[in-house]
Symmetry: C2
Subunit: 341 residues, 2 copies
């Protein structure tokens, strides 16, 4: 793990994308999203995703140049064919269109299909809420979660992010998968030889396991048991029916380099937020007496935001293999510079 | 507990409301909502709520006659001042307006403030999804849930319901609070002298307890720990900022008969659902091999729906004190009829 200044990472990652045929404006958006995840401590959605996207471009599974095709199907419903474009490029274009439209109509929705992985949802929700609007962001993924009472992964990790303006500079932003833990956490524990918590996962035979290695071939539990399963399944159906995304085990292409990406993404932007009393309410919660075993009562998203501020100055940790790959992909131009110096 | 034919319950409950000054059309809507909850086995949202509403009408805290004031703030944003009207009367009026509007614009939202408790959210989501549209319903409540890491109830139980058409007769409908259990369950266990599960609740001092009686004065845990807290808090902020609803411990009037009801409700209706592959996907889940300790893999909402069918013929259980109260409130007219016979 190397601690690197964000601008150094940004520059190398940008160069790696440019060399793969990504236009500069698109590279800026894509790298900003990944770097933001690493800055906030969500490494699973950070720059470790870069080599996979480069590989997908090489395989013809991702089109780095397209901005997608937007079609209004009603004044407040934007249908977006991502045309295999980069997730944040397609999604941000859609988001800006519906933020604009929601100012007029009060609410607007974008249903995005056929784009690459859109990454950490908080990045989008924060942008909307910082502009004084409310955001609901939903996305689907490969089936990694078992239905409550089932043995096999049949539902995506299907995250949700919500952003709400607070009337102050910093909006409220929460972002969570509907699984009890991420597959990234399972892989991390497997790599470090650590056990899982009870109730987190099943092995390939659908039996409860605390062995992280066994869980990698199995299924993660939904959060909150039956309730989280209901919510995750609802998001899977909602996103699919609006975007035409595949369902369950038919979803592919966010983790591999062999399949077209057929999950979906939905953005809802709501205008007319008043933000009265919200900052005070959040302050009441922050100042609440913590329970036994807790140091403080936290507001969702604020720990990640504080970490981001810290890492902007102190550097962001990037795993050595990831950093080496990025440098290799950014390749010749850096070496040339070094030779010049 | 008496097993009663639904139509007998409906008729008596309707009469009780009419005698409290509720117009017949409004009584039909309100009773249908409560009865649907009892039929589905959600007794906490059923007819046991009737005496409280009658009391609130008597106290001038609920206006049984108003249909609320609807104002379009943009083509797709309906602001509704509930004018202290009956929850389902105000909400259904709003819902029908935005279902209609969403057919044109693709999506429409209703932000409802100042209405009584709107009851079981599934009732609304089912109506929308049965009409081929997608529904997201959010509501807030009195602060009953502690923040993750906190000692005191500061967040509502803030439920969400989602309805999605399946392309078949029966839509997908899920409905859950963001608390690990309902306060109704806590009260039920207290009444029956049963302990709580570990992790469900804190007592009035913010200490973990399994004593249901102690938990009544304390706080319920959010579901899924930090994740459910984040989601419940997000719903509280989202609903408040759009409806002007109170926040946290300032929310009152859904459980008591002393305060104006100041929570809020948000309905989002989305058109353009395609429902391709959803019925097949749900069938795959239904047919999945259950895990150890489970008889079947269930689709959310289907157990309640099956129970409703059964109870429609076999009768619905209503607690004796509730049934006695309803009969007393329906009162004289029944007695007069008996005298005539």
């Amino acid at each position: 793990m190397t601690l690197l200044l964000p601008e150094k990472v940004r520059s190398a990652a940008r160069e790696a994308l440019l060399r793969s045929g990504v236009p500069p404006g698109h590279a800026d958006i894509q790298v900003d999203l990944w770097l933001d995840a690493d800055l906030r401590g969500i490494g699973s959605h950070g720059l470790l995703r870069l080599p996979r996207i480069v590989e997908r471009i090489k395989q013809g599974l991702a089109d780095p140049k397209t901005r997608g095709a937007q079609t209004w199907r009603g004044d407040s419903f934007l249908e977006v064919d991502g045309q295999m474009g980069l997730g944040p490029v397609i999604a941000l274009g859609a988001l800006e269109a519906i933020m604009d439209r929601a100012r007029q109509t009060g609410v607007a929705i974008a249903a995005v299909g056929n784009a690459q992985h859109i990454g950490m949802l908080a990045w989008y929700a924060e942008r909307v809420a910082s502009a004084g609007q409310v955001a609901i962001v939903l996305s689907t993924s490969e089936a990694l979660v078992h239905p409550w009472g089932g043995r096999q992964a049949l539902v995506g990790t299907n995250p949700i992010a919500i952003g709400v303006p607070t009337g102050e500079a910093e909006p409220f932003v929460m972002d969570t998968a509907t699984s009890v833990v991420s597959m990234g956490e399972i892989h991390d524990r497997a790599n470090r030889g650590l056990p899982l918590e009870p109730g987190w996962a099943l092995n390939a035979h659908g039996e409860a396991t605390m062995d992280a290695e066994a869980a990698k071939a199995g299924a993660i539990a939904p959060f909150a048991g039956a309730k989280g399963y209901a919510l995750g399944l609802a998001f899977e159906l909602l996103v699919s029916t609006l975007t035409g995304a595949a369902l369950g085990r038919d979803v592919r292409g966010t983790l591999d380099a062999e399949h077209v990406c057929n999950k979906g993404d939905v953005f809802i932007v709501i205008d007319r937020a008043r933000a009265i009393g919200i900052a005070n309410y959040l302050e009441t919660i922050r100042n609440a007496v913590p329970a036994e075993g807790f140091d403080a009562v936290l507001i969702p998203g604020e720990r990640g935001r504080a970490l981001r501020e810290k890492r902007r100055f102190e550097g962001v940790p990037i795993a050595d293999p990831v950093w080496n790959q990025i440098q290799a992909l950014a390749g010749a131009s850096e070496h040339v510079q070094e030779n010049i110096l």
